[in-house]
């Protein structure tokens, strides 16, 4: 089974079709909508597998199929599909995880009376995301990027009747838009600089050597290479989409949406779009690698931002009480890791971590969803507790996910992917900041995850909902089990013993990179760090579990001010309100005044002018033109009246005239001898 690049469009088209179909269904047919959405995505998954087979057969090659979108007179706008291992792997992951999440959703959203719309939105999202993955054009990628944003907005705001939800949706949309402005600017600049937006186009694509060397050769303001500037602008989009510092604020709030959405969009797929983008344009990003005279390399910025984000997310996660918020900040942190990996020049490590993260974070979110569903939508970890006994399967899978996230050695995928990143960071010559940040992040991750597990699953229930929780139906748990399996199994794909991913991704031979024993010291260090984090967490939370929902957090008792600052998310939201928000308000006021007093006055003057012209016109018309027409009409009318006397309205009269005419005619014929 294989799939060529030219028929790659089928993968996003199927969910799109499903979205269109479900949109036309009546609201009561939620079950059918779910079936259509799941079926379409499952088919997409099968196609993706085909695409994967094709791509793996030619590692390192970029199969593409371009076509003309429309003709612009001066030039044509061309789009295309791209099939390489990156696309294929991502597609397979997105469709597979997506299918599982769809299945989970069909149970999770069972009681919602707008479930049909939910599946419509989900399908739309899947279509946009897959389109983004298969795009061979930055323009197509951008279109899908924005569609993904729209779908995400719709899904976060699915329960829009709750004000906080509506606000969160708005926040997510606007925040990512800020990043997208950068993306758009970069895109336009790139088009201006190279005249094309296609990634690969037989040597003329922007990611191919010709364009790259041209871009790297030019410099622009501040001595930056053009490629650096464009790369950084595009990275702005990735910052917004992937929740990187300083635009990470929307991601935790987006957890107001339904949990499957959180799992699908804000853990597995959409937030990974930023990482994917950077991975996709990696050649562009590293085009300035060899330039020494530039003030900054694009990848250094990426690495720094990634490191900061990784640390920031981990820190804030420590002090959160909302189950999904913790996972959200953990996602922020992990995305930071991926960016870090990209920044230090190891895209294969980043993608490997992206894949494993997608599985175990989707698992964690679905596990959280399972917990929340069972606990009657209770998300506060202080209210939960003691669920390990009540929801054994959920606990087991959740624990596997957590261990993968933490990086418990050897058997969990997270360990191997994180190890790859650490190794890459260690090997980066520019700065050691990312490496140390990553190490600290490992400790923190272990710590807050231990806290999470202890609070949610151990001890005893601290609320009615927690006490009455029970295991969910198999529709919800089966995806958990499958994801848990992959959370373990995926580790072996990229384990140092068999460096499959880098080999396939870059097309280089498998001998490249480190072997199992190459970085054994680093590995040992990270094991120690994990143990440290887990130990600290266990000491604080595990040994003596929380007794009541109102009890103060142990860490809060120890370091109250730090904890408070962390709990307030280091005040980023307030900062933005105070600065950006106020600036925005001032600008709005200014615009209002401008509109009211300047533009309005001009318009009013023009209106008056038009009225005056109309009056003049009318006077002329009535007096001069109409007089003549009236006279003509009058004469026509009197002529008509004269003629209409013949129309007596008496049918007999007409008939008589006809008869007379007939007789006359006949007589004329007979007597006149006309033959």
């Amino acid at each position: 089974m294989s799939l060529s690049a030219s028929s790659l469009w089928l993968i996003p088209a199927l969910p799109l079709l499903a979205a269109a179909l479900t949109a036309t269904l009546p609201r009561s047919r939620a079950g059918l909508a779910a079936a259509i959405a799941i079926g379409a995505l499952a088919l997409s998954f099968l196609l993706s597998c085909g695409a994967l087979v094709t791509a793996l057969a030619a590692p390192g090659e970029h199969l593409y199929s371009n076509f003309i979108w429309f003709d612009l007179g001066l030039g044509t706008v061309r789009l295309g599909w791209l099939l390489d291992p990156l696309t294929a792997l991502m597609c397979t992951m997105v469709t597979f995880v997506g299918t599982l999440i769809f299945i989970f959703s069909s149970a999770y959203m069972h009681d919602d009376d707008r479930a049909k719309q939910f599946f419509c939105f989900l399908s739309l999202f899947a279509a946009a995301m897959l389109g983004l993955l298969v795009a061979n054009s930055l323009l197509l990628l951008f279109i899908c990027w924005e569609l993904v944003g729209l779908a995400s907005y719709l899904l976060i705001g699915f329960w829009f009747h709750k004000p906080s939800v509506a606000a969160a949706a708005k926040k997510a949309f606007i925040t990512t838009r800020i990043g997208d402005i950068g993306f758009l600017l970069g895109l336009l600049w790139l088009n201006d600089a190279t005249g094309s937006l296609l990634f690969y186009d037989g040597g003329k694509g922007v990611l191919e050597t010709g364009a790259l060397s041209a871009l790297a050769a030019q410099t622009t303001f501040g001595g930056l290479a053009v490629s650096t500037a464009i790369g950084l602008l595009l990275f702005c989009g990735a910052i917004g989409k992937s929740g990187q510092f300083p635009l990470h604020v929307w991601l935790p709030d987006a957890m107001e949406g339904p949990t499957p959405v959180s799992a699908l969009i804000h853990a597995a797929t959409m937030v990974a779009a930023g990482v994917f983008l950077i991975a996709r344009i990696f050649p562009l990003m590293e085009a300035d690698k060899l330039l020494a005279a530039v003030p900054v390399h694009a990848l250094s910025v990426v690495a720094t931002i990634g490191a900061i984000t990784a640390l920031l997310g981990a820190f804030i996660a420590i002090a959160q009480n909302d189950l999904k918020r913790i996972l959200a900040f953990s996602t922020v942190s992990q995305l930071g890791y991926m960016m870090l990996a990209l920044g230090v020049g190891a895209p294969s490590a980043a993608i490997f971590h992206l894949l494993t993260h997608a599985f175990f974070k989707a698992l964690l979110f679905l596990g959280a969803g399972s917990v929340i569903h069972a606990a009657h939508h209770e998300q506060d970890i202080r209210q939960l507790g003691g669920l390990s006994a009540k929801m054994k399967l959920t606990f087991a899978t959740f624990a596997i996910g957590t261990m993968a996230l933490v990086g418990v050695p050897l058997f969990f995928s997270g360990f191997w992917s994180k190890e790859a990143i650490l190794h890459a960071a260690h090997g980066w010559q520019v700065s050691h900041f990312p490496f140390y940040a990553a190490l600290l992040g490992v400790v923190l991750t272990a710590f807050y995850n231990t806290r999470l597990i202890s609070e949610v699953f151990f001890g005893h229930g601290r609320s009615r909902s927690a006490n009455h929780a029970h295991e969910n139906s198999s529709v919800m748990t089966t995806p958990l089990v499958i994801l848990a399996f992959f959370a373990i199994a995926l580790g072996f794909l990229g384990a140092p013993a068999y460096p499959w991913i880098p080999a396939k991704l870059s097309g280089e031979a498998a001998v490249h990179g480190h072997s199992l024993f190459d970085g054994v010291g680093l590995m040992a260090l990270s094991v120690v760090l994990v143990a440290l984090g887990v130990g600290a967490g266990f000491a604080l939370y595990g040994r003596k579990t929380r007794t009541s929902s109102t009890a103060r957090d142990p860490l809060e008792q120890a370091l109250p001010r730090v904890f408070a600052a962390l709990a307030a998310r280091l005040g980023f939201d307030e900062l933005y309100t105070a600065t950006v928000g106020r600036l925005n308000a001032a600008l709005a006021t200014f615009s209002d005044l401008l509109d009211r007093w300047v533009f309005d006055a001009v318009i009013r003057f023009l209106t008056r002018l038009g009225q005056f012209a109309g009056i003049v016109n009318r006077e002329t018309d009535e007096d001069l033109l109409n007089g003549g027409f009236d006279a003509t009409s009058q004469s026509l009318r009197s002529t008509g009246q004269a003629y209409s006397r013949a129309q007596s309205g008496d049918a007999h009269g007409y008939l008589r005239v006809i008869a007379a005419g007939f007789v006359l005619l006949l007589l004329a014929v007979l007597l006149g001898g006309v033959r």
Binding site: H652, R656, A659, A660, F662, V663, L666, L667, V669, L670
Partner: protein, 167 residues
Amino acid sequence: MITLTFIALVTLAAAAVAMSQRNLIHSALLLVASWAGIAGFYLWAGAEFVAFAQILVYVGAVSMVVLFAVLLTRRSHAELAIAPASVKRILAAIVAGGAVLGALFGAVLSTPLASAAAPPPAISVKALGAQLLGRHTASVLLIAVLLTVALLGAVVIASTNSKEDAP
């Protein structure tokens, strides 16, 4: 010839009496008799298909429509006996009709018609059908469309769906 004269006289008498009757129903029924007489003429002339079609259409269908129309456009039994038309109009009608009759008779009698004593053309129903659906398919289709349109039009015209039309 005798048969033809007989048929013609009966038909003409029925038609003439129908046209001079004061009772509308009697007029209509006499007209039916006249139409039947014409059918008899067709039969006499050997066009039996046309004769039966004439009976089916006129005696079976048109007469019904006429009778329904008569009954739908009266308010009482007394109204069936319609007021006689003015003498002037009758005179004018007779003059006009007489003129036409004279002209036509004159034309017929003065024309040397080649009346061949040929055997009557025989045409079977099957041959007629073949002609209708062979050479004249377009005409048949046109007639079908015309009939459909006429039927629908008649229904629309005669229906009382708008309040304005209701009596």
